[in-house]
Subunit: 360 residues, 2 copies
């Protein structure tokens, strides 16, 4: 029996995707070798990269002015690569919504970037996305950096800030979960291991002219976006099997209605879960403020850490894994990414009702 996977990432994939990968694991397209053994320079693998790239472009609407790259090192390496490539000494604006932007700010400072934290929700325990207006931003910034969804706190931008410089968006935990406004996007990136594939592939979509900002004499070539743009992500050997799985996941996204289809389902799932929390608010305390609630990670607390442990452990026995909150904040977190079904969330809600009845 399949467990229901509420992990924050790596996380569940649709069974149909896994079955396809399994079916062709020993011989890709009858070629007599596994995709995992195949040269990244082969025509077959290049076709997979082409296929994935054209789907990324079509789903989000990214035109030829953007490059689509498959890198390694996760968002954590991007925290460093972004200022390395894009900071020219002007102010680099960051909005701080906890851990992930915090780390990004720290790396930018180490690299000597002129960091300005434009807004933060730290004083309220990062329970919301700070509101900003156009006046908060400078026209003369190198970029404005945000994390579109905070996995740990369970907060998410409903719309992107009206910055005056180009937006850099870490979308690691809400990639391919909804349509977005790309009109001011300079960089849109994320590890794909939550909504769209396995761990080890970082999707980076970057405006080519932005990539050209890099000071080639100072930045190691492997860390320049320009290097991978020229080489179509093959300056060095990419995570071939990961890219293949990513491409299969995009097929599934498209078959299920594209970004709008994903969004509609994700809204339904989140509504169901947040409604249950609100109904049982004596027992379950939602962390995020209502207008900042994430469609991806639903975070809440019970009366004590012990009760939270009991909640997560008994859920595991009932076939639902990954409900413990991030080790840095505790509590409960249900990550309901693309591959989690409405039925999965219904099962969780039933369990929550039962658990509250028994322990309330």
């Amino acid at each position: 029996m399949r467990v229901i996977n509420f992990n924050a990432g790596p996380s569940g994939m649709p069974l149909s995707v896994l079955e396809k990968a399994k079916d062709e694991f020993l011989s890709y397209k009858g070629l007599g070798l596994s995709i995992i053994e195949m040269s990244h320079r082969s025509a077959e693998f290049e076709a997979i990269v082409e296929s994935a790239t054209s789907k990324v472009r079509k789903l989000y609407g990214f035109g030829d002015e953007y490059a689509v790259l498959y890198l390694q090192g996760g968002a954590s390496l991007q925290f460093a690569q972004i200022p390395m490539n894009l900071s020219t000494g002007k102010v680099c604006e960051y909005i701080d919504t906890d851990t992930w932007t915090n780390k990004a700010i720290k790396e930018a400072k180490i690299l000597g970037a002129n960091v300005k934290v434009v807004a933060s929700s730290e004083s309220e325990n990062f329970n919301h996305i700070p509101a900003t207006t156009q006046d908060d931003f400078s026209k003369d910034a190198d970029y404005t950096y945000i994390c579109s969804n905070n996995t740990i706190r369970g907060t998410q931008y409903k719309e992107f800030p009206k910055s005056k410089s180009t937006l850099v968006i870490d979308s690691s935990s809400d990639l391919f979960s909804r349509p977005i406004d790309i009109s001011n996007v300079g960089v849109f990136y994320g590890g794909v291991q939550k909504n769209a594939g396995p761990a080890g592939v970082t999707l980076v979509v970057i405006k080519k002219e932005l990539a050209n900002r890099v000071n080639e004499s100072k930045v190691p070539s492997i860390l320049r976006y320009t290097t991978q743009i020229k080489a179509n992500s093959m300056s060095n050997t990419p995570n071939t099997f990961g890219i293949y799985m990513f491409d299969l996941m995009l097929d599934w996204v498209i078959e299920n209605g594209g970004l709008l289809g994903m969004q509609n389902k994700n809204i339904q799932k989140a509504k169901l879960l947040y409604s249950a929390i609100d109904e049982m608010s004596e027992f379950y305390k939602g962390h995020a403020k209502v207008d900042s609630r994430s469609l991806m990670n639903v975070t809440f607390n019970l009366a004590s850490a012990d009760l939270e442990s009991k909640f997560a452990n008994e859920a595991k026995e009932a076939g639902m894994i990954g409900l413990k909150g991030h080790r840095s904040v505790g509590g409960i977190r249900a990550s309901i990414y693309n591959a989690v079904s409405l039925d999965d969330v219904k099962t969780l809600v039933e369990y929550m009702r039962e658990f509250a009845r028994k322990n309330g």
Copy 2:
């Protein structure tokens, strides 16, 4: 039918390893989820990392003074990470055996390291490993850097140089192919996609005291070895499926006699192939000098580029792929990594005889 895979990497894996991965692809150890969906923080995945690490230690003899890390970004990122972490302003010694050391030298220079090229085989088209004596090295160097096997030229160190400072060894293309002398090793690293797994995992074995050299105020945390040592390679999400496949490959290495077993088989295979080249030296010209010949990548030329194309194309029709030389040098290259069997090489040698007879 399985093809015979002579690609330089990613490259073939033993069928038994692929079959095991396929068998448990939908449900790892009956847990109801795929290993590719599993949290890197789960007890099950942590056990895989522990298992792989203890095998790496046992196979090579690395003690507790070394950390075993699973990173991303391939050797190419190590070219930058090495000087970032280990250069303190003293001379950094490099031995140049073409492309891979060349790139490493370039990155070190960009990062401001005080690079000294101690020896090079450039003047003879990199057809050998340059000889060195202890007198060529300085006691006061930060490190001495070599690439143990040059994939493109088909050259390989028989023994490591007698440097006076700690050795940094890029072993990307001969990992787990033979026992090595680790007595002066500071860093031993490589992408595992040639001999020991899929693309997207960089094995880095590093002396812990060496890692502590890093200037924390200057190097982004994700690029410091100390960060990943503290976090047991989980400072960020590692390539979980890749590490799992790597662990399966190490099981196979151990079942087949460990590093000595690999070496014996690799010597047999190489001998067979080089003997054929030497016998038919009118038709096939080996590139590497005899005493520098690689056990991993056997490089040779035919009379013309056209004939080489014909050779590779007809081999492909006969079920042998990946025989074209690296695009930077042309010619023919047969990569005969751990997973290539003696029978596979026999098949190639028979094909070579037949091809020479028909086209000679």
